[in-house]
Subunit: 337 residues, 2 copies
Amino acid sequence: MIATCIFFKFTRTVLLGMAACLFVTTSVLAQTDPLPSWNNTGAKAAIVAFVDRVTAEDTPGYVPEVERIAVFDNDGTLWTEQPMYVQLAFALDRVKTEAATHPEWKDTQPFKAVLDNDMKALAATGEKGLVELVLATHSGMTTEEFQKIASDWIATARQPRFNKPYTELVYQPMLELLAYLRENGFKTFIVSGGGVEFIRPWAEQVYGVPPEQVIGSTIKTQFEMREGVSTLFRLPQIDFIDDKAGKPVAINQFIGRRPIAAFGNSDGDLEMLQWTTLGGTTTRFGLIVHHTDAEREYAYDRDSPFGRLDKALDAAADNNWTVVDMKADWKQIFPAK
Amino acid sequence: MIATCIFFKFTRTVLLGMAACLFVTTSVLAQTDPLPSWNNTGAKAAIVAFVDRVTAEDTPGYVPEVERIAVFDNDGTLWTEQPMYVQLAFALDRVKTEAATHPEWKDTQPFKAVLDNDMKALAATGEKGLVELVLATHSGMTTEEFQKIASDWIATARQPRFNKPYTELVYQPMLELLAYLRENGFKTFIVSGGGVEFIRPWAEQVYGVPPEQVIGSTIKTQFEMREGVSTLFRLPQIDFIDDKAGKPVAINQFIGRRPIAAFGNSDGDLEMLQWTTLGGTTTRFGLIVHHTDAEREYAYDRDSPFGRLDKALDAAADNNWTVVDMKADWKQIFPAK
């Protein structure tokens, strides 16, 4: 018999009620699979073993609930990042939408390449071109105006291959994993190279992650009082890139303690996985989603322009991180609907 | 009769038990005062009216629980900031402790002033001197090493007038307020001009605020693998000053939505109060702690070198923010122990 402890959250200062605490047998627990979209392979077993370990009170692996911090990359870990990062698709669409008010873009790179649908010329503008594109499309408005622009776009845009909204191309097994961890006392954070204000408007509805648990790249903002109303205005300046070695820096700045579990899929997540698993004294878990399913999603790793997985794949072997073989380990990729 | 709804938080995926939901009469509620250290004056009435308003379902003032974000300044709002900011006292002590390994400090300002206990000469070095002092004492170690240094100091240092640890010179009425808000579904954040890694090690124990809900000033950190262990090394460079117009910027960056309640005590909190109360569409609340009690704590406002309250006091009158008159509104200042 396992005695299941039920915790109560009261909305008032005082103990207002009483509760009957019932007992259930282990057989009841065993019948319910918290990860139904995962095949019964090693990846799932490793996740369940980790969660069982950190929640087993009075054992050496136990981790108190307040320390159960789990961090998730977004692009390629929680939703699809092919044929290009979703936020890049957003920036390209914004250039086309705004082109009428920027006649100079017709003759200026990187904008000309976007308007000509010339992805090769766009790639040739390099990181400098990309930054210019992002700043031109993500600044020059208040934070609230930008949230509306991002929300409106995400509600209508379609991923080209699957012809579905991007928010339906999230990974069902990862949604189950987020919920499973939360049900076991974890606080789940997103730590994305993408813009934080691009992700926050829909992260709560899609992932169950509230805005204050989304960490991402930022551009500078400036506080202004405008006719008695307080605003934050988005400036055309990069503030922080939350990628690679920036991820542990941001995790420390925002969360202030080492996570005990990290989930990523690319070299951009290497340092986050290192920060989570290589240091600290309690039980740790690292996982990499390896995209191996060209039929149901995409197959890519060491040579991919988006979500390149090379060093982090080697590091996974060295550090005993779990590598999800999408094709073999996931029964289902996207939510059924 | 009020039907009190009890929410359950389960540690497993499935509904594991049942609970008896009991009913209590309003008279039982009325007997319990959630703010016993507050006198029954206007400030307390305003707080209770606000909380009643945002928690009253099916009324125009109601705010859903996920949006109940409350932000608190630290120095002078949650604990005493006289005769100097606690973190400045920490920096001065660190200079004295480290002086033996820095013989050059004997002849270099601002360090010489500290070692000579010459506060006038220190003040003459201005903001530049202060920044230099902070960087010299707060960088050059890993984040975990710094946390230990800060924790050890806070456990032993004594405030000169009251001869007590600083963590006992927190305001009992504000501790009750933090708890009262949390019991009513608020998420409480600290938004301090002080260093975030100076506050986090003790904020959970003293204020009930976990590290991930403490926002503050930061210095730059750098990720490094050292002999297989991941570390963040604190660099001698200011990253972000979380004060004045920086507070709304940080609140937006960390929390991603406007708070509905803000609590401060100085001009450093003006923009945070504006960001919280002047904009947004739901019920809002702003409060300023006015230090009026020279006998039990300190009395200061427009001319104070620490915690200067001038523009924000004028703005309180214009914007209907509640001003706490410490002497009249607080029955007790510090926790009894």
